[in-house]
Amino acid sequence: MMTVSSIENGIVLDHIAAGRGMDLYKALGLDELSCLVAVITNAYSKKMGRKDIIKIDAEIDLNLDIIGYFDPNITVNIIKDGVNTKKPKIEPPERIENIIRCKNPRCITTVEQELPHVFKLTDRENMVYRCIYCESKAK
């Protein structure tokens, strides 16, 4: 069995759906960090069967809206001096800006310069986000 060592000060993102760890890694811009980052895929999970985990060996400001949009079931563990100090509650954000782009070819965002891509949560139960301009569902 492969082991990845614990971190002393940093962040652990746990309970990521198996196979989505790299997508979240990119969405959070972790590829731009200079610190050690470990992406563990297909780890065993009692609850999920398989899961992905991301370990960041530094205290950084994470955009929790991105995580909430990605999957509100992800657990964020803030580690200080080797101890898990807090788990911020992850909620699907009401509004996201420039996290995803509208895919509707008829949307004004395809032509209007410097227009932010904004989506709002229209159905919390089914996690449906819609473009505020053309109301297309986020894909």
């Binding site: 209007e112 159905d123 109301e135």
Partner: protein
């Protein structure tokens, strides 16, 4: 400052108020002939239109105001690459209110975020067309005297038909309205309207491909055109354009007081022979479009 981007920007009591003012304009047009003296409406039409643009212009002239604008994108600075935001900012220095049609969905909302004067969405791609919905509502109210308890048939292109989507949204706020959705399988109402509007509000609706079967139960029949400009594939358009053609024979089973509406232009989905049927109200509907736009301009300009 108010804008009209989506029909749901207006409450039902505001819609009642607009219908009441429009009815008063129809009764006493002279009373309104100078309400907008010295005011200017800019019609920014980035996409061709006959009825909507001319009815806005006629509405403003009949209120005593003036009109400026353009009727196609090629004759505006957007052809040079100017943004919607910059266009409306500049037009705000020359006019008091803007009616905008744009092929891109959401363009009028972008305009409303940047404009210093009220914006009226005069149609944005396949998305919204709130003044058409106001026209439809005024016509239904004048013909039927109510919205509550009506059975409304919507026939044709229910997938891309923006007028249908807006009308369902508007009528779903009244009591006991039943929708009969008549379309070929390829052009059925989008899932999100079924789930987020009809099912969410527990509104009765049926979907069918047969107009003949449901004709006898309808109080209102709203016909739509299968629009060439909404298709990316010409073959699909040709295959579906003649799905429903309303003829005097098909109307034999309809109620004597049913009213037939159509946002126009029609191509061939309503036979010309239907025009002389007293139930055909689509030309009256086009005329009502001017009156409800007059009422709307007065409201947004806050003219007493």
């Amino acid at each position: 400052m108010r804008n009209l981007i989506d029909i749901l920007d207006l409450t039902t009591s505001e819609i009642d108020e607009l219908i009441s003012v429009a009815n008063d304009i129809i009764e006493s047009p002279k009373k309104y002939a100078h309400k907008c003296d010295g005011k200017k409406l800019a019609t920014l039409f980035f996409e061709p239109s006959t009825r909507t643009r001319l009815s806005f212009e006629a509405a403003m002239y009949e209120l005593g105001g003036n009109v400026l604008g353009f009727s196609e994108a090629q004759s505006s600075s957007s052809a040079k690459g100017e943004s919607v935001a910059d266009t409306v900012k500049v037009v705000g220095y020359y006019a008091d209110i803007i009616a905008m049609r744009h092929p891109k969905e959401g363009a009028p909302m972008v305009a409303s975020m940047k404009s210093d004067i009220p914006i009226i969405n005069a149609g944005d791609g396949g998305h919204n067309h709130p003044t058409q919905t106001l026209t439809d509502l005024l016509t239904i109210y004048r013909e039927k005297g109510r919205f509550d308890g009506l059975t409304v048939g919507l026939c044709g292109d229910l997938k891309f038909g923006r007028t249908v989507h807006s009308l369902i949204g508007a009528l779903s706020r009244y009591n006991n309205v039943k929708f009969v959705l008549i379309s070929p399988n390829e052009l059925t109402i989008p899932e999100y309207i079924k789930k987020e509007v009809l099912e969410a509000k527990n509104i009765e609706f049926v979907e069918t491909a047969s107009l003949d079967e449901v004709m006898p139960e309808l109080d209102v029949l709203y016909m739509t055109r299968v629009q060439r400009e909404r298709f990316f594939n010409e073959q699909d358009y040709i295959r579906l354009k003649d799905s429903y053609i309303l003829t005097p024979e098909k109307l034999l089973s309809a109620k004597k007081d049913m009213c037939i509406l159509h946002p126009l232009p029609r191509v061939n989905e309503i036979s010309v022979a239907v025009d002389s049927d007293p139930r055909a109200k689509y030309f009256v509907q086009a005329q009502n479009g001017k009156y409800i736009r007059m009422a709307l301009i007065l409201k947004l300009l806050e003219v007493e």
